[in-house]
Symmetry: C2
Subunit: 409 residues, 2 copies
Amino acid sequence: MRIVQKFGGTSVGSLQRIAHTADIVQAELKRGNQIAVVVSAMSGETNRLIAMAHELCTMPAARELDALVATGEQVSAALLAIELQQRGIAAYSHSGGQAGFVTDSRHVRARIKNVDGRHLRAHLEAGEVPVVTGFQGVDELGNITTLGRGGSDTSAVALAIAVDADMCDIYTDVDGIYTTDPRIVPRARKIERIAYEEMLEFASLGAKVLQTRSVELAMRYNMPLHLRSSFEPVTGTMVVQEDDVQEDNSMERATISGVAYNRDEAKITIMGIPDQPGIAAKVFGPVAESGINVDVIVQNVSEQGYTDITFTVPTGDYQQTMEIMRRLCEQMHGRHVKGDDSIAKVSVIGVGMRSHAGVAKDMFDVLAQEGVNIQMITTSEIKITVVIEEKYIELAVRTLHSAFGLDSE
Amino acid sequence: MRIVQKFGGTSVGSLQRIAHTADIVQAELKRGNQIAVVVSAMSGETNRLIAMAHELCTMPAARELDALVATGEQVSAALLAIELQQRGIAAYSHSGGQAGFVTDSRHVRARIKNVDGRHLRAHLEAGEVPVVTGFQGVDELGNITTLGRGGSDTSAVALAIAVDADMCDIYTDVDGIYTTDPRIVPRARKIERIAYEEMLEFASLGAKVLQTRSVELAMRYNMPLHLRSSFEPVTGTMVVQEDDVQEDNSMERATISGVAYNRDEAKITIMGIPDQPGIAAKVFGPVAESGINVDVIVQNVSEQGYTDITFTVPTGDYQQTMEIMRRLCEQMHGRHVKGDDSIAKVSVIGVGMRSHAGVAKDMFDVLAQEGVNIQMITTSEIKITVVIEEKYIELAVRTLHSAFGLDSE
């Protein structure tokens, strides 16, 4: 098999960790696989470099920030190549540009336009191990660019596609995706196989193991991802297309793959504002301009020409959003702004719910039986999310996990 | 004027020093000059990176070492560009490859093959300030290479030539070349102008301000160098071609430009070895193989088929060389090996001595009058070197400096 292995900052965070990472690469080679490696910067290094730039200048130019931080991955790639060579492995480091990554010119948040994999394919066929800097490329003029948040995962997936790899292994500090948080539900199970769509919902709910961008890319090119631990040599979670999820020949798969939650949300309601066309844009315009992410939005039916809008934001943005809303309410002659930062969000996720009616009803029933009041509801094709009082979150997660048959025996 | 400014590791060694370096760049721009900058890595950074590689592996591959240490200059170039931009200057960092430096593939000690200056010339003509990483380039396959010892000076000179600069300013922690060491001769004078050939002799004698390679390159293309202090805004020493040294319209220039010395030498004599063809090669072969630099060599006339060979080596290599010589003497049935590590070397240097007979005689006379015994003599076209007892070194330097008219008034 041809495998692209991606190691994050902690996996190359010290010389000891680099040696351990080399162990993993070496083990896969011994199994007869062809390996290309993608690495992040040593943990802390990117922040160290950015801090220096910011000490010189409050708004350093994006082009120079890219040239600066791109050195982080170059260092870890060279060090890992040295460690592999020392074990007799023909490993060579490649910067993003050398590896064929061409991006657009949006410094600090560039998008990959194309990866020319010919060069690295030839190296792989010659039995070599290319060690590639994640997170970066060059634009068409040869300027160094970085991909922004989650860039290294995306680099790994893009490289896997470009060199026709059979799969892309993402090594992290967790050993896979669980049906829910094992700290809350000790009987949570590791998910063996999960569909890309489900993984995207998990990721957007705070399962920080994989960045959304990289999952979207893998899904578009049908590149299997293997999320696994860099600490323990156990099988992790495979992220694959929906048709490949079901492996055990059972006729039907579980309706729900997992239960996710997020405590880090606050709820704001602006009440009694005139129900005119364009009112939502008026409300969310100033919030978006402040760079605040709005999540769940619910607008009630209009009563006598007035309406209420409720939405959630990350807890960290709660105070600022409240102030924006109070000003807005006054301008619009609204009645009142109400806020609540002791809420939480719980979701059930599963591609199976497409074919199973009544998942929503089941979910609401289960919560009602436990006396948990539902404040807001949103649904997507493969996810149902409710907002509840924060104090009920463990109870809700545990109950739903059990009710949808996810508990391990 | 178009000027390439080169700043070493201490000039970019901290964010404070980077700000100070930006002051210097800004001042030259205000004088209406076009400026390109070449920087070294922040002081200590290259050693830190190499130490990590050596901790992983006693003999890290040269290709990977280059990829690793090249990040050092990339960091300082980006930081200086950020600092300059913050002052409203259109400065952009360029790696060696981006700046057009193409080298051979001898990693860790690459030689520049060509610098394509078109790109940076266009930037300079647009009023921009390119900030270029010294010490590095790419080979014809795009692999990152470094130039080895003294590389950044050489980068600066090569860039100055490639962009048709009028001069290359080398900023260091001294403010120029002196007629001799001011710690020994308080009346030593700063040399305003010095010929490339003289600078080469000074450099080879331990005036560590400029690497020989960069002077040779500047001489070949007649690129004026300005050696100056990054701490004090004073004129330093111009290194120019011989014809341009004399500026003050005096008919004749001084015969001697300066007096150099080196205490860090030891003398070894192998006595009574058979005087056969190839004997010198036999003696110096094992020394060269051990990587030891032999400096002065004197072979006495043969007496009854036997000869003595005396030579000097750096003090640090003295013990090892003595052992090699003892083994060799035994093998060759020589009589005896004698060593002395309390010697020193003193030289008078000047292109003027080409046209003045009798400089050697004057030098020997002066030393004889002071009772200084001369142990060895070597001469080149513009330099006379003698080896003397170390305890006489200050006396010899002072006396020669005065006798050749170099004392300041």
